[in-house]
């Protein structure tokens, strides 16, 4: 019996050891994977070949030749620099955060959103960038340098930005919606969709209560909760990605969503129209950062630099339909994209928008909890 037990223990130990090793291997780098057990997989790549760069980014976020007229920017980067790109994706900022903090991984480039960047800087998860290696930084619009989440401009190179807006079915509304209060309009009862995401839903509700979301407190969240509870009986559903199906298939009347995505929806269904709410909305952005666990920082900077080449930034913007901060990119874009308010809202409009990046951790946790309660009440 004792022997069997010890055998089991031994097996368990090898098992755990094996799983740990497997974890390191896959997280590190595929070509170095076999060396990972040696302990130090860092120094051996750059000399021989150009090494690689591990990019961890949002799904469906860059041009990969999805359409005939789109280029595959990753292949272009590999061809130009000889650096191999390992591209993996995540769906939420929280997923990115837990990958970085709770597992033993190594990524070189990540693209977190505004609020996640502040959190990561606060928790010392990012490396300072060497902007000498990123000459194309000169193309970045001044509005998107020294972002609110990175006031000294040491960690970030903005990749894309956008605002929240409303999309509506012009055949189903009695009058053109002007502001967020359309989402509380009783005439559309049962046909209103709402963000299934605490940040965006709460921000809209706070605006409705006359609160500035960028500096909200728990008491403000409570007020927003009341507003959302008032709205719930009028809703069809809380949705995120499903909004595309719902709106493109004329299943709902009005929904708030990200402006760049509304442009995509409007291409699919000509009854759809958009509204940039008069009282302003949330200006959000995602930016390239290099996390502390990076093992190929120079390659990461080369990658960031490449993505900010005007023609490459233009390709990505064409695919994504979110605004690009790259001033040079506009020369490579068609008029119907540069002229679209959804992709490039005017400066006057942007001045009305708020950035939701510095919400206190505790308030944010409270916000998520309260939103779930609204949904389940």
């Amino acid at each position: 019996m004792k022997r069997t037990l010890s055998i089991i223990m031994a097996l368990v130990l090898t098992f755990t050891a094996l799983t740990c090793l497997a974890g390191c291997g896959s997280s590190g780098s595929s070509s170095n994977g076999s060396n990972a057990s040696g302990g130090d997989a860092t120094g051996d790549s750059p000399s021989g070949n150009k090494g690689e760069v591990n990019v961890y980014s949002w799904g469906e976020y860059i041009a990969l030749g999805q359409d005939e007229d789109l280029m595959n920017v990753l292949e272009a980067f590999e061809d130009e620099t000889g650096i191999k790109v390992n591209y993996t994706t995540y769906d939420t900022n929280e997923e990115l955060y837990s990958k970085l903090t709770q597992s033993n991984v190594s990524y070189d480039v990540i693209v977190p959103s505004d609020y996640m960047i502040s959190k990561m800087i606060k928790e010392d998860l990012l490396l300072e960038l060497n902007y000498d290696n990123i000459p194309n930084y000169k193309y970045i619009d001044d509005r998107f340098k020294k972002l609110a989440c990175d006031p000294d401009g040491k960690y970030t190179v903005c990749y894309s930005w956008g605002v929240t807006a409303m999309v509506y079915d012009s055949t189903a509304v009695s009058e053109k919606p002007k502001d967020w209060d359309a989402l509380w309009n009783k005439d559309y009862e049962g046909n209103i969709l709402m963000f299934d995401n605490s940040r965006d839903a709460m921000a809209i509700a706070m605006q409705q209560c006359g609160i500035d979301p960028s500096n909200c407190t728990k008491a403000d969240v409570d007020k927003a909760v009341e507003k959302l509870k008032e709205q719930k009986p009028l809703l069809k559903k809380y949705v995120m990605d499903q909004v595309f199906n719902e709106m493109e298939g004329s299943q709902a009347t009005i929904a708030p969503y990200y402006a760049g995505d509304i442009a995509v929806m409007m291409e699919e269904n000509e009854d759809l129209d958009y509204c940039l709410p008069e009282s302003g909305s949330n200006l959000f952005y995602d930016a390239f950062c290099v996390p502390k666990c990076s093992k190929n920082k120079e390659n990461a900077e080369a990658f960031i630099n490449f993505m900010q080449k005007p023609e490459i930034a233009a390709e990505n913007c064409k695919y994504l339909r979110y605004g690009t901060p790259n001033t040079g990119a506009k020369d490579f874009l068609d008029k119907d994209i540069t002229g679209s308010e959804l992709t490039f809202p005017s400066d006057e409009y942007l001045n009305k928008c708020y950035v939701f990046s510095n919400v206190d951790d505790e308030v944010y946790a409270y916000m998520q909890e309260q939103f779930l309660k609204v949904k389940t009440s």
Partner: protein, 263 residues
């Protein structure tokens, strides 16, 4: 001794992928954010009691409807010719070869406004959307899990010794009595494993509700998913409670049958 050695890899597997995770969930459920012992996760879990009850209710309803639909079908199957039996069995299985989500999308289109069902009913002058309510969720669940009910019942029923049925008939039983006294009691193990295979997954899944349900059809699985991002303790507590409820359910099922349900 030999059989013991053979079981070692499985025991190791269970320890690493079943025992350790369960212990970790158990430990997390009884801690607060700072890591000290606390019952706070359970008091927080109490806030979601109605979601919990609703999930169990939807699961129960789906299981009962599955059983009502599946039992006669399984019985009819045993009466068929061997070749037809094979074909029908195949037809029951084929949908399972298709992606789960894809089948839900299909239901979405069937039930939505201006979808086939709406168009058909429009001919009678009834307009509307049939999606976004609890009934649609139950329909989706029944569709997804019906094969898991039919197949175990059929397997058990087709193994019933024909001699027993003949003996009953020789002793003067009519068809109804044969069914009541012989076939039904002997098919109970199949019914129990069918119920288990439908109830357990439908209590914890949320994909069906997310796509076919409305604003009020939030399942407990969805709550666990959302809560886990920023509060693993409460998430673990809810998972633990769900596990306990399912365990109680399985023990209850065990009272009716042999050791079938827990196995």
């Amino acid at each position: 001794m030999k059989s013991k050695k053979l079981s070692i890899p499985y025991i190791a597997w269970m320890v690493v992928f079943t025992m350790i995770p369960i212990v970790m969930i158990g430990l997390t459920a009884f801690r607060d954010k700072a890591g000290g012992f606390s019952l706070e996760p359970f008091t927080k879990a109490w806030d979601y009691r109605f979601v919990f009850l609703k999930s169990l209710w939807i699961a129960l309803l789906s299981t009962v409807i599955c059983l009502i639909l599946a039992y006669p079908l399984a019985y009819l199957l045993t009466k068929m010719k061997k070749s037809t039996q094979k074909t029908v069995q195949l037809l029951i299985m084929v949908p399972m070869w298709m992606n789960f989500l894809l089948r839900i999308y299909a239901w979405k289109i069937l039930l939505q406004k201006n979808g086939p069902l709406d168009m058909a009913l429009s001919l009678l002058g009834i307009h509307g959307s049939y999606i976004g309510n609890t009934a649609a969720v139950v329909v989706g669940m029944v569709y997804e899990y019906l094969p898991f009910m039919v197949l175990p019942i059929f397997t058990v029923m087709s193994k019933i010794d024909g001699g027993l049925i003949e003996a009953a008939q020789d002793l003067g039983s009519n068809n109804l009595a044969v069914f009541k006294k012989v076939i039904f009691p002997l098919s109970i193990p199949g019914v129990i494993s069918g119920i288990t295979m439908v109830f357990v997954p439908s209590a914890s899944t949320f994909l069906v509700a997310e796509h076919l349900g409305g604003k009020d059809d939030v399942m407990i699985g969805d709550v666990i998913d959302k809560i886990f991002l920023n509060d693993q303790n409460t998430g673990s507590a809810i998972s633990l409670i769900l596990m306990v409820f399912i365990l109680i359910f399985l023990i209850l099922m065990n009272l009716f049958g042999d050791e079938e349900a827990l196995a």
